[in-house]
């Protein structure tokens, strides 16, 4: 005996206990009322006026709102991104400019410091050597002669 046949036999055993609902008066009446209920509901729902146009309009309105919101979101995020990027570029440029200015200032300071020392020494030399009182001039000339010797 195959498995399918055995299963069918089992089912037959079960169905032997099966009592048709129609035999039971109360059950039969309940099932009859149930059928009538389903029939009436189905007929009413089947012949009800359709509101396709309204639904479509509502859907299209929702669709439009959805699209608008989506566009606003996309535009907002795009412009935000662009603004942020521009801001970063500005900051970088400003920092670079600042750095360059500082470097330039440092260079100038260094150059100024070098020039100032040399100039100072030269000035001191020339001032010391040249600002000699005229009364001492002959002595100074003598000193120069001694040095040459």
């Amino acid at each position: 005996m195959s498995g399918v046949e055995q299963q069918d036999n089992n089912m037959d055993k079960i169905t032997n206990r099966f009592e048709d609902g129609a035999e039971d008066a109360e059950l039969g009446q309940a099932l009859e009322s149930f059928k009538q209920c389903v029939d009436a509901w189905s007929d009413a729902a089947y012949s009800r006026p359709r509101t396709v146009e309204q639904t479509v309009r509502r859907r299209s309105w929702r669709l439009a709102v959805g699209w608008a919101l989506g566009c606003v979101l996309v535009a907002g995020s795009l412009s935000g991104g662009v603004f942020e990027r521009q801001h970063q570029i500005d900051l970088k440029q400003r920092a670079a400019r600042q750095r360059a200015a500082e470097q330039q200032k440092q260079g100038e300071q260094q150059a100024r410091a070098q020039v100032t020392d040399e100039d100072l020494l030269t000035d001191v030399d020339s001032d010391v050597s040249r600002q000699v009182p005229s009364a001492m001039e002959p002595l100074a000339q003598m000193m120069a002669v001694d040095e040459s010797k």
Partner: protein
């Protein structure tokens, strides 16, 4: 003379051939094609069985919109496969089988989309029980009948998918067990067993013995 006769005859033959050809063409224009016949036949099937399919789906889902959608899908699928329908079973049984499979697929997909499980358009059992024609019975009888119908709806709600399908096909669509077996793809014995359990559940809900 012979030449003249031959010319006349050949002209007559040509004329008659032309008339026949024209007649055939005219016939071809007016005679419906196989496709036209099939389309007409299908539209008759739709007209005849659509309310029944809708009723079954409505009673099974308790959702008017869903029942309408599934009915549309059922006939769309049937239209696509109409050429493969060999008439081994009745058109109604064939359509019912498509409807049952569509419904099964729908619930399976819904289970997959777990976030949609909480949202359902199925009407309340009280609302479903209100659709009872008043007839000539008294108010008390109507109330009693409504209460019974509500109990049956409650029992139907608690049935498994297969039991519900079998029960509705038997007691709402009033189909024979063999038809139910063909539509559901089950053996008649299995159909009887499912029906037995479903009726037992209804009986229990009504307060009787199982």
């Amino acid at each position: 003379m012979r030449i003249l006769e031959a010319a006349v005859n050949s002209g007559a033959v040509r004329a008659s051939t032309w008339v026949m050809a024209a007649g055939t063409a005219l016939k071809a224009m007016t005679m419906p094609t196989a496709g036209d016949i099939a389309a007409e036949e299908f539209s008759r099937v739709v007209e005849r069985h659509r309310p029944q399919i809708f009723r079954f789906l409505l009673s099974s889902t308790r959702d008017v919109d869903l029942a309408e959608t599934l009915t549309q899908e059922c006939f769309l699928k049937a239209h696509r496969n109409w050429s493969s329908f060999r008439g081994e079973s009745s058109a109604m049984t064939w359509l019912m089988r498509i409807a049952i499979n569509l419904q099964k697929d729908h619930w399976r997909n819904r289970r997959m989309q777990f976030w949609r499980t909480t949202r359902t358009n199925s009407v309340d059992l009280d609302e479903a029980s209100e659709w009872l024609p008043s007839g000539e019975s008294s108010v008390e009888q109507q109330l009693l009948a409504r209460e019974r119908v509500k109990q049956v709806w409650t029992a139907v709600k608690g049935l498994s998918e297969r039991q519900r399908t079998v029960f509705l096909l038997r007691y709402v669509e009033e189909q024979e067990l063999s038809e139910i077996a063909t539509a559901t793809g089950l053996s008649e014995g299995t159909v009887k067993a499912h029906l037995s359990r479903a009726v037992g559940r209804v009986r229990l809900e009504l307060g009787g013995k199982r």
